[in-house]
C-alpha cells in the first residue's frame, strides 16, 4: 500500500512538473528564449561579390523593419545577417548554423533561388520558417515545403507578364539568354514557352557563365537571326554587359528585356551608361513612397528588394509576437508549428501592398509591372509603363 501511495505521489509530482510544458506542446517542437536573451531573426543574403549591392539592399530593408518594430514582449531583437553568396553551398551552411541556434526564430532569405532551394530542405528538417524577399523561382513553392514563404512574386507571373508585353509590342521573334542559375534559366525558359504559346517564335536559347565579361561571341552568333527582342534571365552584373555588348556587335534595333535581377539603379542604370537606355525590366509595383523616402534618407538610393525584405521581416516579427507565450519567469516559448501557422494566416497591409499567402507559401494577388529605362530631364531611371 505504501508503495502504491508513493508511486501515486510521484506521478502527481511528475504531472505538476510536466503540465506547463504540455500546455505548450507543439507537434514540431518549441523554441525557448530565456529571460534577458534576445530574439534572433536570421538572414541569408549576398554581402560580398558581384550582386552584393542587391544583397546589402535586402539587409538594409530587414534592418529597418527590426529597428521600426522594437522589442518583442520584452526581448530585444537582433538581425543576424550571413553572406549566402547567392548560391547553394553557403546557403546550406548558413541554414545548418542558424537552424541549430536556439535563439533563432526564423529567417529572412535567402536572396537567390539557387540558395533558397537547397536551404529550404534544411529548414524543413528543423522546421524553422523562412520568408524570402527575393527568391522568385517557380519551383520553390511547388515542392510542398510547409515552412517556405515569400514576399516577392513567382516567376510564372513574371514570365507571363513579360511575354504578354513583348507580344503586344509585336516582338514576336525572340532570343532567350540565361545565366544557367536556378533562377535565370527557369525564368528564361518559362518566358520562351509563354512567347510560343502566344504565337511568337523563340529563335535560339543560350546560356552564359556568371562572372564572365565577354558575351560578344554569343551575341555575334545571334546577330544573323535578327531577333526583335533578346530576353535575359539573370542578374544585373551580366545583364548590363549583354545590353552594352549588344550595341557593340551591332544589334542596335533589337530590344533588350530582363527581370527583377536587373531592376537595380546602381548595377544596371549607372553601370550601363547610355547603353541601358531603352532596356525593359520587370518588377513589382512601386512600394509606398513615404517608406522609400524614409529608407533613402537613411541608407541612400534603394536598389531592388529592400521593400520586400522590410515586409518579410515585419511579417516574421508579427507572427513571433502572435505565437510566443510569455512564461512567469520572463522567458518566451514559441511553438514552431504555431509560428508557421501565424505566418500562413498573415493578413497585413505592407509597404508593398496587401500581403496574404496561398497554401503553397506564395503571395496572393501579386502583380508584376514592366519598367523601361528612360532619360528624362537629365535623369535616368526606371519608368513604370502602362500595361
Amino acid at each position: 500500500m505504501i508503495k502504491r501511495t508513493q508511486i501515486l505521489i510521484l506521478l502527481a509530482a511528475f504531472c505538476l512538473v510536466i503540465s506547463p510544458l504540455l500546455a505548450h506542446a507543439d507537434e514540431w517542437g518549441t523554441i525557448t528564449i530565456p529571460e534577458g536573451k534576445p530574439v534572433k531573426i536570421g538572414m541569408g543574403t549576398m554581402l560580398t561579390g558581384d550582386y552584393a549591392s542587391l544583397g546589402i539592399d535586402i539587409k538594409h530593408g530587414a534592418e529597418m523593419a527590426v529597428l521600426d518594430h522594437g522589442p518583442i514582449l520584452g526581448h530585444s531583437l537582433i538581425l543576424q545577417a550571413e553572406d549566402d553568396g547567392c548560391s547553394g553551398p553557403p546557403s546550406v551552411a548558413i541554414a545548418e548554423k542558424l537552424c541549430n541556434d536556439p535563439l533563432v526564430v526564423g529567417l529572412v532569405g535567402y536572396m537567390c533561388s539557387g540558395g533558397s532551394k537547397p536551404a529550404s530542405d534544411i529548414h524543413d528538417k528543423y522546421k524553422v520558417v523562412m520568408v524570402s524577399p527575393s527568391s522568385t523561382a517557380l519551383e520553390l513553392t511547388a515542392r510542398g515545403i510547409p515552412i517556405f514563404f515569400r514576399t516577392c512574386w513567382n516567376d510564372r507571373i513574371q514570365a507571363e507578364r513579360a511575354a504578354a508585353f513583348a507580344i503586344k509590342r509585336g516582338w514576336t521573334s525572340v532570343v532567350v539568354l540565361h545565366d544557367k542559375s536556378d533562377y535565370g534559366q527557369s525564368l528564361a525558359e518559362d518566358f520562351g514557352k509563354n512567347i510560343e504559346k502566344r504565337g511568337g517564335k523563340v529563335l535560339a536559347s543560350e546560356g552564359l557563365t556568371r562572372g564572365d565579361k565577354d558575351f560578344s561571341p554569343v551575341l555575334t552568333k545571334i546577330k544573323p537571326l535578327r531577333p526583335k527582342l533578346i530576353y535575359f534571365g539573370g542578374m544585373a552584373a551580366e545583364g548590363v554587359l549583354v545590353a552594352r555588348q549588344m550595341k557593340r556587335v551591332g544589334l542596335r534595333k533589337t530590344h533588350f528585356m530582363s527581370d527583377d535581377g536587373c531592376y537595380t539603379e546602381k548595377d544596371f542604370i549607372q553601370a550601363g551608361g547610355k547603353a541601358s537606355n531603352g532596356c525593359y525590366v520587370t518588377y513589382a509595383k512601386e512600394p509606398d513612397p513615404a517608406w522609400v523616402k524614409r529608407f533613402e534618407a537613411k541608407y541612400g538610393p534603394r536598389q531592388t528588394f529592400s521593400p520586400q525584405a522590410y515586409d518579410a521581416a515585419t511579417i516574421l516579427m508579427r507572427a513571433v509576437e502572435k505565437a510566443a507565450k510569455k512564461q512567469p519567469d520572463g522567458s518566451l516559448i514559441i511553438g514552431k508549428k504555431a509560428l508557421r501557422d501565424a505566418i500562413a494566416g498573415t493578413g497585413y497591409d505592407g509597404i508593398t501592398g496587401r500581403i496574404a499567402f496561398d497554401a503553397h507559401g506564395d503571395r496572393t494577388g501579386s502583380v508584376v509591372k514592366i519598367y523601361k529605362v528612360v532619360d528624362e530631364n537629365g535623369k535616368r531611371f526606371f519608368k513604370q509603363l502602362e500595361f
Partner: protein, 308 residues
C-alpha cells in the same frame, strides 16, 4: 555550319577574337618572359593584371571626381595607363624580391607554391580594399563606331587590337635590339655564364618582372575600359587563359605567346558558333589539355637557344 558561309559573322567574330586575343597575348607575355629566364610559372601574374586594372580605375575615378577628365579625357586615359603600369611594375618587382628571389636556388616546386600563395594573398588584399564589391569603370569616352556599310567596329576594339600589337612589336624589338634585351637573352640562355660575362643577373631578372607586369597592367586597363566591370577575382580566369596561351605558343617563346593569345581568342570566338555559349571556357582548357598531350612544347616550340 551555315555560320561559316556568312561573311558578316566571320568578320565580326574575328574582331571579337582579336580583341580578347590581344588581351590574352599581353598577359601571356608576362608568363613567358619570366619562364624564359627563371623556368618558373609566375601564378601571381593574373593578380598583377588585376592590380593594374584597379590602379587605372583609381586614377580615372580621381580624374573624374576632380573634373580633369571632362577637360582632357584623352590625357586622363593616358595617365591612367601610366599609373596602372607603375603600380603593377612596383608590385611585380616586390613580388620578385620578396616571394621569388629567396627561393631562386630552392627546388622548382618551392617558387611555384610561393607564387600560388602570393596570388591568394593579393586577391584577398584587394577584396579587403574594395570590400568585395564589383567596381565599374567610369565612362569617360563614349564608345563610337567605325562603319563600313553593314560592318562596324568599335574604336575601343581598334584601340585594343592595335595597341596590343604595337606593344608586342616594341617588346620584340627591345629584346632583339637593345643592350638590356641582349642581356635578357644571355641570362635566359645561361645564367651563370652571363653572370661571368659581367651581367648583373639580379637586375636583369628584376627588369623582366617589371616589363611583364607593366604589359599586364596595360591589359588590365584595356579590360576595364572595354568590359567596364572589375573585381578582385578578375585576374584568375584571364590569368589561366593567358597561361594556356603561353603554353599554346610554346612557353618561354615571345612570338609564341603572341600567337597563342590570338589563337586562343579566335578559338573562343569561333568555338561559340559550334557549341552552346556556356561551354566557352571549355574551349580554352580543352585546347590546353590537347596541346599538353600532343605537342607539349607548343605551336612554335620552346625556343631553347634564343629563349626570352
Amino acid at each position: 555550319m551555315s555560320y561559316l558561309l556568312n561573311p558578316q559573322v566571320i568578320i565580326d567574330q574575328s574582331i571579337n577574337g582579336l580583341t580578347i586575343g590581344g588581351i590574352y597575348a599581353l598577359i601571356a607575355l608576362g608568363y613567358t618572359l619570366v619562364y624564359g629566364i627563371l623556368f618558373m610559372i609566375n601564378f601571381a601574374h593574373g593578380e598583377i593584371f588585376m592590380f593594374g586594372s584597379f590602379g587605372g580605375f583609381a586614377a580615372l575615378t580621381y580624374f573624374v571626381n576632380s573634373g580633369f577628365a571632362d577637360a582632357h579625357p584623352g590625357l586622363s586615359i593616358v595617365a591612367a595607363f601610366l599609373a596602372a603600369m607603375v603600380i603593377s611594375a612596383i608590385l611585380g618587382a616586390l613580388l620578385e624580391r620578396i616571394a621569388y628571389r629567396p627561393l631562386r636556388n630552392a627546388p622548382r616546386l618551392a617558387p611555384l607554391i610561393s607564387a600560388i600563395g602570393a596570388s591568394i594573398f593579393l586577391q584577398n588584399l584587394m577584396m579587403l580594399i574594395i570590400k568585395a564589391r564589383m567596381q565599374v569603370y567610369p565612362d569617360i569616352i563614349p564608345e563610337e563606331f567605325l562603319e563600313f556599310g553593314q560592318y562596324s567596329i568599335s574604336y575601343f576594339q581598334l584601340f585594343i587590337i592595335f595597341g596590343s600589337v604595337l606593344l608586342m612589336v616594341g617588346l620584340y624589338l627591345f629584346i632583339q635590339k637593345t643592350k638590356t634585351g641582349k642581356a635578357m637573352r644571355a641570362v635566359a640562355e645561361d645564367r651563370e655564364a652571363a653572370s661571368l660575362m659581367g651581367i648583373d643577373v639580379n637586375r636583369i631578372i628584376l627588369i623582366t618582372f617589371v616589363i611583364g607586369s607593366a604589359l599586364a597592367a596595360v591589359a588590365g586597363v584595356m579590360v576595364g575600359i572595354y568590359y567596364t566591370q572589375i573585381d578582385h577575382m578578375m585576374g584568375f580566369i584571364p590569368g589561366i587563359k593567358a597561361f594556356t596561351a603561353a603554353v599554346l605558343g610554346g612557353i618561354g617563346n615571345v612570338p609564341g605567346a603572341m600567337l597563342g593569345g590570338y589563337f586562343l581568342g579566335l578559338a573562343e570566338a569561333f568555338g561559340v558558333l559550334f557549341m552552346p555559349a556556356e561551354y566557352k571556357d571549355v574551349i580554352a582548357f580543352g585546347l590546353l589539355v590537347l596541346v599538353l598531350i600532343f605537342r607539349p612544347s607548343g605551336i612554335l616550340g620552346e625556343v631553347v637557344s634564343e629563349r626570352a
